[in-house]
């Protein structure tokens, strides 16, 4: 059985997205429920659950072409709404010259990647890498397949390949006008080895891209059909709820299990090193309710004394310590001593929770010689290896059925939920679905680090900065994740947004001190930049205000010689009505950054009520991703980034008390909702060239800075500490 979905026509091309459904018996559980809605399974989401990682009519691990010309393209990354499940196959299509309406997309198998010498390369989705890092590789995949199809046609016609061309899934012999369909050539092409790999197209040679195209996953996400990790249904599975030690790193000392004795439907109480779990027969709710009756005792050690106020003091106290130099231009000390005026300010940003809408979860079926894991992971390959280690099986025996991710933002690659689920499965010896409550998800997040930045600057008689220094104290994401890095160098995520500033300040010194706590820290949407751009753009605004310079014009001057930056800034100022009058109590702020090789400038317009309440009225975004696959998703990602950044700017903060995160749910960790969402205008300004910039993150950092700067314009009050809601903005 096949299901067909017709996506709306955004580009005057109909896109039909098809895939096999779950009607076959090889899929465990999905669509097996007796309910009417469960019988119609999603098309795209079925494949991640499939054991079969090869197909008939394969040209290679990436592409299969059936006799009816339908093209199967494998997608090796993780779809969390950012659209790379659509964008990467579009890049392949550009080279393959196939008919997009005949393309169906499947997840690539992490097991096959392990088995076949990493034929799919890296499988992770973070750092806006899906397109940026894979673009060459997938273009090569498409180009090779195209050339092999052409070679197959040329051989059949006994003509030179150079006389043949490929377009819309047909090879044409130009001199004679003869044609062969891809479906007729695939079997022969599969046997052809090219003597030399074809050169891939430059963006200037593209004929199919960029193209505004509906995302292939959208229709599955409007009728409940899309399967997320949390939706896995495995016959005989039981449900687990877990409570890890509230203080990260603490150990389980004891738990009185007798309170649950005789409770119906309880399969087991599983004691782990750092956590206790309850497993129930028929519902997660039963497990969760039973877990809440346990009163585990924890051994938390000295970490149990840590609180936010002290932590902030410690970080600030460390600002004077010896640091690692991240950037050193000119002679800051000399220039400082000669400045007409000098400035100092300290900016501070708190721990943040990722809080994807889908709480962390994993479903595992552990057998003697095989492990199946159903999960939404940003890195199916990393998940596979973590699962192999935890289970003691070989990587080839592990099958990660990666699903749609209910948000990731950097959180969904730690594998902690997978390792826990396997530990529980070892005890109960049945398939287990482990779900974290929202409270567990928030308090056991691996947080966006806390950071303090001390700025100093000197300005000349024209008010322009001649020197600035930035001293950063924050925690090491690399050490927390386990990425080796030389200790005498500044790890990029700790300094991103500062070192990467585009300003022609002749003397710059940027230094870093890493100060780790017991709290795990992790990559977050636009790591480093999501806190440091707020700081540097705020500090620059302070300099502008003190020297009576227009913030936009000051930036423009400091970006002299960088036409790409200036262009983005100018469009933002123009489209964002920079300089036009606003009513009392309202103001505009501007900010710009470079992140993942994309430039983004924004103008925010805010109104601050006498009560101090902030309303962000409008945000103008200009984004230069250099090149584009699908402008549709780039606009979506820019809007998404603005809302994500606003939540961080206005409300985001994890407070630590007695070593544990205080906030546990959306009642205390506030999210921007529809009523607070500003009008967002996105302008795409791709500058071309050979570089590909990211789309999913670069619009996060500037919005935070632009809003803070707009608040200053509206009220005269400078925001140096986030979140904004912690600042007193009442007018007297």
């Amino acid at each position: 059985m096949r299901a067909t979905r017709v996506a709306p026509d955004l580009s005057r091309r109909q896109v039909i997205f098809t895939a096999g459904s779950a009607a076959g018996g090889l899929l465990i559980g999905i669509g097996m429920a007796a309910a009417p809605g469960g019988a119609r399974a999603a098309t795209v989401s079925n494949k991640p659950w499939d054991d079969k990682d090869s197909a008939p009519h394969e040209l290679d691990a990436w592409i299969a072409i059936d006799p009816d010309d339908s093209v199967l393209i494998r997608y090796q990354r993780a779809e969390m709404g950012q659209g790379s499940m659509t964008a990467l196959p579009m890049l392949i299509t550009e080279e393959l010259q196939c008919d997009w309406s005949k393309v169906r997309i499947e997840y690539a198998s992490a097991t096959r990647n392990a088995r076949e010498n990493r034929v799919y390369g890296n499988m992770y989705s973070h750092g806006s890498m899906s397109v940026r890092e894979s673009q060459k590789m997938v273009q090569q995949v498409g180009a090779s397949a195209r050339e092999r199809l052409i070679a197959a046609a040329a051989a059949r016609w006994k003509v030179p390949a150079s006389d043949c061309m490929a377009a819309q899934s047909v090879v044409t012999h130009r001199p004679s006008g003869r044609t062969l369909r891809y479906g007729e050539l695939a079997a022969a092409a599969a046997k052809i080895k090219l003597a030399k790999e074809p050169t891939i197209k430059t963006p200037a040679q593209f004929s199919f891209l960029p193209r505004r195209m509906p995302r292939v996953d959208v229709a599955h996400k409007t009728d409940g059909a899309a399967k997320f990790g949390i939706d896995a249904q495995v016959p005989g599975m039981v449900f687990a709820a877990i409570a890890a030690c509230p203080v990260p790193g603490g150990k389980l000392k004891a738990v009185d299990e007798s309170v649950l004795s005789g409770a119906p439907g309880i399969v087991a109480i599983v004691k782990l090193d750092h956590a206790v779990a309850v497993v129930a027969t028929d519902s997660f709710w039963r497990a969760k309710r039973a877990l809440s009756r346990l009163q585990p005792q924890w051994d938390v050690g000295a970490a149990g004394l840590v609180n936010s106020a002290q932590l902030s003091k410690d970080f600030r106290a460390a600002l004077g310590a010896k640091m690692v130099v991240a950037r050193n231009d000119g002679d800051v000390a000399k220039a400082m001593s000669r400045g007409a005026r000098t400035f100092e300010a300290i900016y501070e940003t708190p721990y943040l929770s990722h809080s994807p809408m889908e709480p962390m979860n994993a479903t595992v079926n552990l057998q003697a010689d095989r492990l199946d894991v159903w999960v939404g992971s940003q890195d199916a390959e990393g998940a596979l290896h973590a699962a192999a280690t935890a289970s003691g099986l070989e990587p080839e025996q592990v099958h990660v059925h990666n699903a749609f991710l209910g948000g990731g933002f950097g959180r969904r690659d730690g594998n902690d939920e997978i390792v826990q689920a396997i530990a529980i499965a070892k005890v109960v010896k049945r398939p287990v679905k482990l779900i974290w409550t929202r409270e567990e998800d928030m308090r056991h997040d691996r947080f966006r680090p806390h950071a303090v930045v001390a700025f100093k600057a000197a300005t000349g008689s024209d008010g322009l900065p001649t020197a600035w220094s930035m001293r950063i104290v924050t925690s090491s994401i690399f050490q927390s994740v386990g990425i080796p890095f030389p200790p005498d160098k500044a790890e990029p995520p700790a300094v991103d947004g500062l070192v990467s500033n585009g300003y022609a300040v002749p003397n710059q010194r940027i230094e870093l001190l890493l100060k780790n706590t017991h709290l795990p820290v992790w990559f977050y949407r636009a790591p480093g930049a999501n806190q440091h751009v707020f700081a540097i753009e705020g500090f620059l605004d302070e300099i502008a205000a003190a020297n009576r310079l227009d913030p936009y014009r000051l930036r423009r001057k400091l970006l002299a010689g960088k036409p790409d930056w200036i262009k983005v800034l100018d469009i933002a100022a123009q489209k964002g009505d920079w300089g036009k009058p606003l009513p009392r109590g309202s103001g505009r702020g501007i900010a710009i950054c470079n992140f993942t090789d994309s430039l983004c400038a924004q103008v925010a317009e805010v109104t601050v009520k006498p009560s101090g309440e902030v309303k962000v009225d409008r945000v103008t975004v200009v984004l230069d991703t250099r090149n584009m696959v699908n402008p549709q998703t780039i606009v979506e990602q820019a809007e998404s980034s603005v809302i994500f950044g606003l939540t961080a700017a206005l409300y985001g903060k994890i407070t630590i008390k007695d070593g544990a995160a205080v906030q546990g749910n959306f009642d205390t960790y506030r999210m921007v909702r529809l009523a607070e969402a500003p009008k967002i205008d996105v302008h795409l300004a791709p500058s071309g060239g050979e570089v590909w910039g990211g789309a999913g993150e670069p619009a996060v950092p500037p919005v935070i800075a632009a809003v803070a700067n707009a608040i200053f314009a509206a009220t005269g009050k400078r925001i140096r500490t986030l979140p904004i809601v912690d600042n007193d903005l009442r007018s007297a």
Binding site: P36, G38, D223, W285, M357, V672, A675
Partner: protein, 151 residues
């Protein structure tokens, strides 16, 4: 034993009465389109229609529902054709998609009361969280759905 009707099918549910409807739908009946986001009626990911009204099913105990008619995202239309679903597809609203079952169910009920909503009506009544920040598209889609229903 509690009897409820889910998407037109009658079901006998034998479970502790304090079990939230959300977990009955997901774990007992196997309808996973309704999502768990917070468990405390904050996010709306679990929104379904109970006797025609949008409710956050994580906070409605099954014991209070004997005889109730429940519609989940799977039962909103047989073929993704409800005006709200169509508008959602046309405006490309979902990103990760996790919140969207709840958003669609909330908006479908909302439009029954506010056939031609203003932006202020939307602000006051559509309060589900979307962590992916699809709000601009969501607002466009609400207006589009309202216009389609009217037409």
């Amino acid at each position: 034993m509690i009897t409820i009707q889910v998407n037109g099918t009658s079901r006998q549910i034998d479970i502790e009465p304090d079990t939230p409807l959300l977990w009955v739908l997901r774990d007992v009946i196997g309808l996973t389109g309704t999502k768990f986001g917070c468990g405390i009626a904050q996010c709306g990911a679990c929104t379904v229609h109970i006797n025609g009204a949008a409710m956050r099913s994580c906070s409605v105990p099954i014991g209070a529902l004997d005889g109730a008619k429940i519609v989940t995202i799977e039962g909103l239309s047989p073929d993704n054709s409800h005006p709200v679903q169509r508008a959602w597809i046309e405006e490309s609203v979902p990103q990760c998609g996790y919140c969207q079952s709840g958003q669609i169910m909330a908006v479908a009920a909302f439009l029954k009361t506010f056939a031609k909503p203003t932006d202020a009506d939307i602000d006051a009544n559509v309060t589900n969280i979307c962590r992916c920040g699809t709000y601009p598209a969501l607002r466009r889609a609400i207006h589009r759905a309202a216009n389609a229903v009217k037409a």
